[in-house]
């Protein structure tokens, strides 16, 4: 079973994969927009914490999405 951080990373990656046919840049934007619309503030805050955690080897698309989320925040 995934812990919450792993779950958030997994979910963001899964959303990205479903937008991926739009091309990487558009998919990153669409995923970030999705998180803005559907994730609660604590989940978003955790996403930004994950982004800042050097111990976490974040998949590149998810890093881009969380980066975009930081800009939106």
């Amino acid at each position: 079973m995934m812990n919450t951080r792993e779950h958030l990373i997994y979910m963001a990656g899964q959303i990205f994969r479903n937008f991926a046919s739009r091309g990487e840049e558009a998919a990153v934007s669409a995923t970030a927009e999705h998180l803005v619309l559907y994730w609660d503030p604590h989940m978003k805050a955790q996403a930004l914490d994950i982004l800042d955690d050097p111990e976490i080897d974040l998949p590149e698309p998810v890093r881009a999405v969380f980066g975009k989320l930081r800009v939106a925040a």
Partner: protein, 946 residues
């Protein structure tokens, strides 16, 4: 309402040109095709009848309804003779009276003369008609050969068949054929030996009979009669209300004797069911007065303590104090609530209001999270509104019906009967389902195409069908050009046209021959009006939302939205899933599907409620559980949901609940979730309250109180008690006031109120200034969002994969006789049909594992393990196993994983990699859970007063 029978016009209504005639000197005009019997009934002339009833086609066997027609010889049966222009009919003459008495004499000479002790005394058409024809004696005597020694069939738990009282009018047989479409009954034998038989002359319980009750309702004597009438006597009043089982939303007459419910009889004027019912709504209401009902509030300090009964005041005060304490300690967003799709619109609206106004956050969710949340996302994205497009009656205009991921004969049986009627008339059927559901082949019905795809490949399959439609030039170009976003269409068409998305390219993936896919796609696109009906086999996948959008794409591409007989139609699981979603139960939306971030919408609510609303979306149910295990979510109010049994990955749900400091459960029974609760607030049944439910066709219908709540309060009153204990100052005195609030805050409900519902019987939203009569069909001239939006739906395989450890795919579903987690139906005689969850396994897979039919097997996934008995069947393909989730002893959701739909987090119940092995006992989880459940249900016995 006092007790009166619904008027029976004898034969169904017709709809031809106007025809004028004279009956007994009275001139009247009726539609061509109307029978003389019906025309007479329309002017209050009731011609005696026995074999005729207006829910069935005329039959002309009883010879009681004879009439005289000027210029015609003989005495034709009025039920089978249609009206004609200028026809002059006489219904009462000396000759007719003599003929009818003679016929009735024959019937009565072979009928028990026990009227005074008969269960149907006073509610028997035979008795009434004997009186109507003036029968005074029976010249033939009663000593001749007769059928009075026939043995009663009491096998069915809900009704009894007494052949001694049967007049072989065939109404039951025809009801089974025409109304239900099961064709389980027949007339066995010839002449005097004729008798009603179930299947191959079996008892009713063992036969193919599905206990819908249509035969009982049709019977004009007490040959088929409800056991409750035998036990309790005939009813003395009736109240029309709405069923609380599935999303079809059947309306019933709750027929009462004092405060006691005698029977539920489907209401002929019900717009969703047209007088039909299933075994659940018709008979399985005994749970309402079951001994397991908890009627007093209970509190306990921790979940290992026994429950302590307390006053309402103490319980409500405790809830309010605990929730405020938690918020003070952990923050505003540390608590939340779950609304119930089994409760009324008014109740769900109040729970989300309690969360938003009282808790000050948006941590509210509903069971639609685990069923139709992808429908909300998918249809809103493509069409602009989160609901199905048609009314149920639309299916009668369909030429092609595509059923995907739904099993209507089990899950939505009354609608299935309407669908089967259309199929018997010649509509073509395509079934896309891993399992061979009954619709694939049943009496008088055979699907043109069954595409038994591998679980998890819906998107690939639908995209392949789109590939065929686009590349073979079957797109309705004019429709797409006028009604849809052209750029989006062009992008989608290019995407689906790629050879990698052809049926041939995905054949290995789906396991379905490409030729069959091509043929099904061609039929859907070219067969006339084409309607899609879908269920949880679409939504409960990691690509549930994509599948809904892929369905919408197909419908738009073929011009099948906005007209009769077509559309995209989600079959909703629970009675008020649609309503719960409409009412703002999702954490990101206010009522009417408006995002919480929209300042203008928020301002509307803030002004009305006098509170500032949180502009950020709240937590979904799985996220609440994650947050609970993280220690940031500490309290929850759960109304009428059993998330421990119904939600995926039971261990995760249990861990989340166990981590909270205040779990409040409001329910009829101490459900599985209550094992982890600190406060239990007793709930009320649908028979004990007023309100409204909204069914799968957006139809809002009244729920009327027929008896007082055992616990003293309707559920909306309990929510109000909690709200007021938290200082919200609500003052509703009737649910109609809540609906008025919903209407003033929700544009699609602006015209809805209880007066309109009383007058019209039901309305379909949107109902407002633009649609003053409601909206049976949506998107007629344009889509709600403007132009229909094609969405590219790339196939992204689930991460749940089979392998050496877990080589089989488990998919789950429901069965006709049980409902959801079984809390209601397990407490009725429906367990006679389904006493336990069984694992369906293909003979090949069973053979490989040494499993025989009925053996106990261990079902194991990476999430958990349970044990249940095997049922060997080729309904499932090799490599696929299937079970239901109705019984807590099995807890099928111990097996399901936390994979979910990418857009909505709707769990992927339909795809779990598993292994099946022979077993000889319950799993460790089952053993420990059984102990926990037993301990958790202890109720402290109060000390007797001195």
């Amino acid at each position: 309402m006092t007790f009166t029978r619904e008027k029976d016009f004898g034969t169904p209504a017709a709809s031809g040109e106007a025809v004028s005639l004279t009956i007994d000197g009275q001139e009247l005009t009726v539609p061509a095709g109307t029978s003389i019997m019906r025309a007479a009934a329309m002017v209050e002339t009731d011609i005696p009848k026995l074999c005729a009833t207006d829910s069935l086609e005329s039959f002309g066997s009883c010879r009681l309804c004879l009439v005289e027609i000027e210029g015609r010889n003989g005495y034709p049966a009025s039920c089978t003779t249609p009206v004609a222009p200028g026809m002059v009919v006489r219904t009462e003459t000396d000759k007719l009276r003599k003929l009818r008495r003679g016929v009735m004499e024959l019937y009565i000479s072979d009928h028990p003369l026990d009227c005074l002790t008969c269960s149907a005394n006073g509610d028997c058409e035979l008795q009434d008609q004997a009186g109507a024809v003036g029968l005074r004696d029976v010249r033939f005597g009663y000593e001749g050969e007769n059928h009075l020694e026939g043995c009663k069939d009491e096998s069915n738990p809900y009704f009894t068949f007494d052949p001694a009282k049967c007049i072989v009018c065939s109404r039951c047989v025809r009801a089974c054929d025409e109304t239900q479409g099961t064709l389980a009954l027949t007339v066995d034998g010839r002449g005097f030996a004729s008798k009603i038989a179930a299947s191959q002359d079996e008892d009713f319980l063992s036969s193919e009979c599905v206990s819908c009750g249509a035969c009982v309702q049709a019977c004009p004597t007490s040959a088929l009669i409800e056991n409750t009438v035998i036990e309790k006597g005939t009813p003395d009043r009736a109240v029309v209300t709405t069923c609380a089982y599935c999303g079809v939303g059947c309306t019933f007459r709750a027929e009462m004797r004092g405060e006691e419910l005698v029977r539920m009889v489907p209401w002929k004027d019900g717009k969703a069911n047209h007088g039909h019912s299933c075994v659940k709504g018709r008979f399985a209401w005994g749970y309402a007065r079951h001994n397991d009902r908890i009627v007093n509030p209970m509190v306990r300090g921790s979940v290992d303590e026994p429950w302590r009964e307390v006053s309402w005041e103490e319980a409500i005060g405790h809830v309010a104090r605990e929730f405020r304490r938690i918020q003070n300690a952990y923050g505003t967003r540390s608590i939340g609530g779950i609304t119930s799709s089994r409760c009324t619109n008014e109740e769900t609206f109040l729970v989300q209001k309690l969360v938003r106004q009282g808790f000050g956050n948006n941590n509210v969710d509903t069971c639609a999270r685990v069923c139709h949340s992808p429908t909300g996302y998918g249809l809103k994205t493509t069409f602009g509104t989160s609901a199905g497009t048609q009314d149920f009656d639309s299916v009668q205009h369909a030429d092609v019906i595509l059923v995907i991921g739904a099993n209507p004969t089990d899950g939505h049986p009354v609608f299935a009967s309407h669908m089967k009627r259309r199929l018997r008339q010649g509509a073509k059927l395509i079934v896309i389902d891993p399992r061979r559901i009954d619709l694939v082949r049943s009496p008088h019905i055979e699907a043109s195409h069954h595409l038994p795809l591998r679980p998890g490949t819906n998107v690939a399959m639908l995209t392949a069908m789109a590939h065929v439609i686009v590349t073979e030039g079957l797109v309705d170009e004019a429709y797409v050009h006028e009604r849809c976003d052209r750029d989006a269409y062009a992008e989608w068409a290019e995407f689906v046209s790629d050879p990698s998305r052809s049926p041939e390219a995905i054949e290995e993936l789906t396991g379905v021959p490409a030729q069959e896919v091509r043929a099904a796609a061609r039929l859907y696109a070219t067969g006339g009006n084409a309607a899609i009906y879908y269920g949880l086999g679409v939504t409960e996948h990691s690509q549930g939302s994509s599948t809904v959008m892929a369905i919408a794409n197909l419908a738009m591409a073929t011009g099948n939205v906005g007209k009769e007989g077509a559309g995209v139609n989600p079959l909703r699981g629970q009675n008020n899933v649609q309503g719960a979603c409409d009412m703002g139960s999702f954490p990101h939306e206010l009522s009417g599907y408006r995002h919480i971030s929209d300042a203008e919408t928020r301002a509307l609510f803030e002004k009305d409620w006098g509170a500032t609303l949180d502009p950020e979306p709240g937590l979904r149910i799985p996220n609440m559980l994650d947050a609970a295990t993280d220690g940031t979510f500490k309290g929850i109010f759960i109304q009428g949901e059993d998330i421990l049994q119904s939600d995926p990955n039971t261990r995760h749900v249990a861990a989340g609940l166990a981590a909270m400091e205040c779990v409040v459960v409001q329910d009829l029974f101490l459900n599985e979730t209550a094992n982890y609760a600190h406060v239990f607030l007793p709930g009320s049944t649908f028979l004990e309250k007023d309100g409204t439910f909204t069914n799968a066709e957006r139809r809002i219908q009244l729920v009327r109180k027929v008896m007082e709540p055992l616990n003293g309060y309707a559920d909306w009153e309990v929510v109000q008690l909690v709200a007021n204990a938290m200082g919200l100052g609500w003052g509703y005195t009737h649910p109609s006031q809540i609906m008025d609030e919903i209407a003033r805050l929700t544009p699609t409900f602006a015209g809805v109120n209880y007066d309109a519902l009383e007058q019209r019987g039901s309305v379909q939203w949107p109902m407002n200034e633009a649609a003053p009569d409601g909206t049976p069909m949506m998107h007629i001239d344009h889509f709600v969002r403007g132009k229909g939006m094609f969405v590219v739906t790339d196939y992204v395989p689930t991460d749940e994969r089979t392998g050496p450890r877990f080589p089989l795919l488990l998919t789950t579903g429901r069965i006709l006789s049980q409902y959801n987690v079984g809390a209601q139906t397990r407490r009725t005689a429906n367990v006679d049909w389904h006493a336990e969850d069984r694992l369906e396994i293909h003979p090949h897979d069973a053979e490989n594992r040494g499993v025989r039919d009925g053996d106990w097997v261990s079902l194991r996934s990476r999430a958990g393990e349970t044990t249940l008995r095997a049922k060997i069947t080729d309904r499932v393909a090799p490599g696929v196993v299937y079970t239901t989730f109705h019984h807590p002893d099995t807890q099928a959701n111990v097996i399901t994983t936390d994979f979910s739909d990418w857009a909505t987090n709707c769990p992927e119940y339909k795809v779990t990699a598993v292994q099946v092995t022979p077993s000889n006992g319950p799993s460790d989880w089952q053993k420990s859970y059984r102990e926990l459940a037993e301990a958790s249900r202890r109720i402290e016995t109060a000390e007797p007063a001195e």
